[in-house]
Amino acid sequence: MVAPTEKPSDKSTTSEAKPEPTQQKSTAALEEDDEFEDFPVEDWPAEETESAAQAASGDGTTQHLWEESWDDDDTSDDFSAQLREELKKVEASKRR
C-alpha cells in the first residue's frame, strides 16, 4: 500500500497528466482502492477454497492460525521481580 496520506485522486493526477498511453495506469490506480475485487472465475470447487488450503497446511483445521492473546511463557519470575521492585516505588511514594 502506498503512503496512507496519498489519495487515489492524487495518483490519477500524476499519471493522467502524461500523454495517452499512461491512461490505463490511472484507471488501474482507481481500481486499486480497497475494494473487493471481482474473481476471475465465477465458481470453484471446494478444494480451491482457502479453507481447504489451510486445512492442508495444518492438522485439518484452521486452529493453528489463531493464537491466544496472552503469553504464559512470559509470566515468569522476571515479572514478579519487576513487580516487587515497582511496588516498593509505589509504597515509597505513598509514604512521602
Binding site: 496512507p4 482507481l30 493453528h64
Partner: protein, 502 residues
C-alpha cells in the same frame, strides 16, 4: 458486426448466458482487435444496415428462434453497444479520428444498460440471459468512477475561483456514481421482483446485483443504503433462493460486505460469522480479497474471542503484518506502552480502513492480560492439607498500580487504576469485586479471567478437590513454590481475615 452477431447466435442457440454476456464485453485490454473490428469505419449508416440485415433478412438468423419482441430488443442493444464501443476506443486513445471522455463513455454505456434492462421489462428476455445485466452493470460502475475521477481532475486544473453558495462537493464529486447507483438498483429490482417460477426466475441475479450495489454504496459512503438492500433480501418476502445455491464468487463477495456492515455497526459476533464464512470460501489465490477479509476478521476475533493471528496466518500478507504484528506483540506482552505506540503509528491506515475504534478497544485486552499477570505472579494461597493449592485471589490494588506503571511507563494514580479495574469487571474481562476501603480486589475463585483455558482447567480441578476434602491450613504444594512471591506472607495475614465472597 458479422462476427459479433454470429457469436450471439451461437450463445443463444446454446442458451449460454456467460457466452452471451461475452458479446457485450467492452474490455479493451483483452479484446482490442475485436472491438476495433466491431467499430469498423465508425459509420452509423452502414452499421444500421448491417444489423438490419443480420436481424431481419439473413437466412442464418433462423438458426435461432427469436420472437419479434426479442429481435427488436437485441437489435437496439447491439446498436447501443456499437456506439459505446466508439466512445470507449476514443477515450482510450485508440481512435485517430476522435477523442472522447469517460463522461461520454458513461452516457453511451448507460444507454446500453437501460436498453438491456428494458429487454427484461418489454422484450421477453429469458432469465438465462441475465449475465448480460451483470456485464452492463459492472462496466457502468467502472465508467462512472472513471468519469468522476476525470471531472475531479479537470476541476483541479481549471482552479475554481467562483465559489457557489449551495455547492455540495460530496455529491458533485460522485455525480456519475450516484447516478449509476440508481441504475444498479433498478437492475436489482427487476431481478428481485421477478415472479416467474424459480427455475426460470431472474432472482438468480439478485446476489450479483446486490454485490454491485454494495461496492457502489461503499464507495459513496452510504452504508445505510446497503443496510436497506440487506433488509429487502433477508426479509424473506422476496423468496430469494438460499445463498449457498449461488456461485462461490457471489457468496464470498456478499458475505464480505455483510460482515463489514455488521462490523461497522459494532456487531462483532455477527461480523465474525460472515467474515469467517467469506474467508473460508474465498478462492485460495485471491490474495487481495483474502487480505481485505482478514483486515476486518482480525479485529473482530480480537474482541470476540481474544485471539490473535498467528505468524503463519499473516505470512503471505506483508501489509497485514505491518498493520497488526506490532499490536499483536504488545497485546501478548501486555505492554500498554508498546500498544499505544503501535496504535498511533498505524493510526492513518487504521482510520482509513475503519478499524481504528475497534482496535482501540484492544487496549482492554492488554490491560486484562496485564492484570492476569499480576494474578499469576501472586502465586498461591497456603494450601489446605492435602488439597491442591489455590491461587491467591485477594490482591492489593497497589500491586495492580505497580503493574500498570511498569507497562505504561507512566505514573498512575491508584484511584485511576481502581476505575480501570471496575471497567474490566463491568466488561466481564475480569471477575471479582473491588473492596475499596481495604484497597483490595477480590477475584473470583472460578476463572477470574474468563476465556483463559488454563485457569479454567486448574480451577475446576481445585474446586472439586477442595469441596471433597475438609480444610486445615498449612503451606505446601510444589506448584505453590513455583509462583509464590517471597513476600506472600505480607498478604497472607489479612487473607485469613474476614472478607467473604461467594
Amino acid at each position: 458486426m458479422d462476427g459479433l452477431i454470429r457469436q450471439f447466435r451461437v450463445a443463444y442457440a446454446a442458451t449460454n448466458g456467460e457466452q452471451l454476456a461475452e458479446t457485450l464485453s467492452p474490455d479493451v485490454q483483452t479484446h482490442s482487435a475485436k472491438l476495433r473490428a466491431i467499430w469498423g469505419r465508425g459509420d452509423l449508416r452502414s452499421t444500421t444496415a448491417d444489423l438490419n440485415f443480420l436481424f431481419h433478412q439473413d437466412q442464418a438468423r433462423l438458426s435461432i428462434r427469436l420472437s419479434k419482441e426479442e429481435t427488436s430488443g437485441w437489435y437496439a442493444i447491439y446498436t447501443a453497444y456499437w456506439k459505446a464501443i466508439g466512445e470507449i476506443l476514443a477515450a482510450e486513445g485508440l481512435r485517430h479520428d476522435a477523442q472522447s471522455s469517460w463522461a461520454k463513455v458513461y452516457d453511451a454505456w448507460k444507454d446500453l444498460t437501460l436498453l438491456t434492462v428494458r429487454g427484461y421489462t418489454n422484450h421477453e428476455f429469458e432469465n438465462w440471459t441475465i449475465p448480460c445485466l451483470y456485464v452492463t452493470g459492472r462496466y457502468l460502475r467502472l465508467y462512472a468512477m472513471r468519469a468522476d475521477a476525470e471531472r475531479a481532475l479537470n476541476n483541479d486544473n481549471t482552479a475554481v475561483d467562483e465559489l457557489q453558495d449551495d455547492f455540495d462537493p460530496q455529491a458533485e464529486e460522485n455525480k456519475c456514481l450516484e447516478d449509476c447507483a440508481r441504475h444498479l438498483n433498478r437492475i436489482f429490482q427487476i431481478c428481485a421482483s421477478d415472479r416467474a417460477p424459480l427455475e426460470e426466475s431472474r432472482k438468480w441475479g439478485v446476489y450479483y446485483a446486490v454485490n454491485l450495489l454494495f461496492k457502489t454504496y461503499f464507495k459513496l459512503n452510504s452504508e445505510s443504503l446497503s443496510k436497506n438492500v440487506l433488509r429487502v433480501i433477508s426479509a424473506g418476502r422476496s423468496d430469494i433462493p438460499p445463498i449457498d445455491k449461488f456461485p462461490k464468487s457471489q457468496q464470498t463477495t456478499f458475505k464480505y460486505y455483510e460482515g463489514v456492515l455488521a462490523f461497522l455497526e459494532e456487531n462483532y459476533v455477527e461480523a465474525e460469522k460472515h467474515l469467517e464464512m467469506a474467508w473460508l470460501m474465498c478462492h485460495k489465490n485471491a490474495q487481495r480479497n483474502l487480505e481485505l477479509i482478514l483486515t476486518y476478521l482480525i479485529p473482530c476475533r480480537l474482541l470476540t474471542t481474544h485471539t490473535l493471528p498467528s505468524a503463519q496466518l499473516l505470512g503471505p500478507f506483508p501489509r497485514l503484518q505491518k498493520l497488526f504484528m506490532p499490536l499483536a506483540h504488545a497485546i501478548k506482552k501486555s505492554d500498554l506502552r508498546a500498544f499505544d505506540i503501535a496504535l498511533r503509528d498505524g493510526e492513518d491506515e487504521f482510520i482509513k480502513r475503519r478499524v481504528y475504534l475497534t482496535l482501540e478497544r484492544g487496549r482492554d485486552i492488554v490491560l486484562r492480560n496485564l492484570l492476569r499477570k499480576v494474578f499469576i505472579a501472586g502465586g498461591f494461597e497456603p494450601a489446605k492439607d492435602g488439597a491442591a493449592p489455590v491461587r491467591r485471589t485477594r490482591i492489593p490494588i497497589t500491586e495492580f498500580t505497580a503493574a500498570v506503571q511498569i507497562s505504561s511507563g507512566e505514573a498512575i494514580d491508584s484511584d485511576e487504576v481502581e476505575c480501570l479495574m471496575a471497567n474490566m469487571i463491568y466488561k466481564n474481562l475480569m471477575k471479582g469485586y473491588i473492596a475499596h476501603e481495604r484497597g483490595t480486589v477480590v477475584l473470583s475463585k472460578s476463572g477470574a479471567f474468563p476465556g483463559t483455558k488454563q485457569d479454567r482447567r486448574r480451577y475446576t480441578y481445585v474446586i472439586v478437590i477442595s469441596r471433597a476434602i475438609n480444610i486445615t491450613t498449612s503451606l505446601s504444594g510444589s506448584l505453590a513454590e513455583v509462583l509464590v512471591p517471597n513476600d506472600y506472607k505480607k498478604y497472607d495475614g489479612w487473607c485469613m481475615g474476614g472478607i467473604s465472597h461467594g
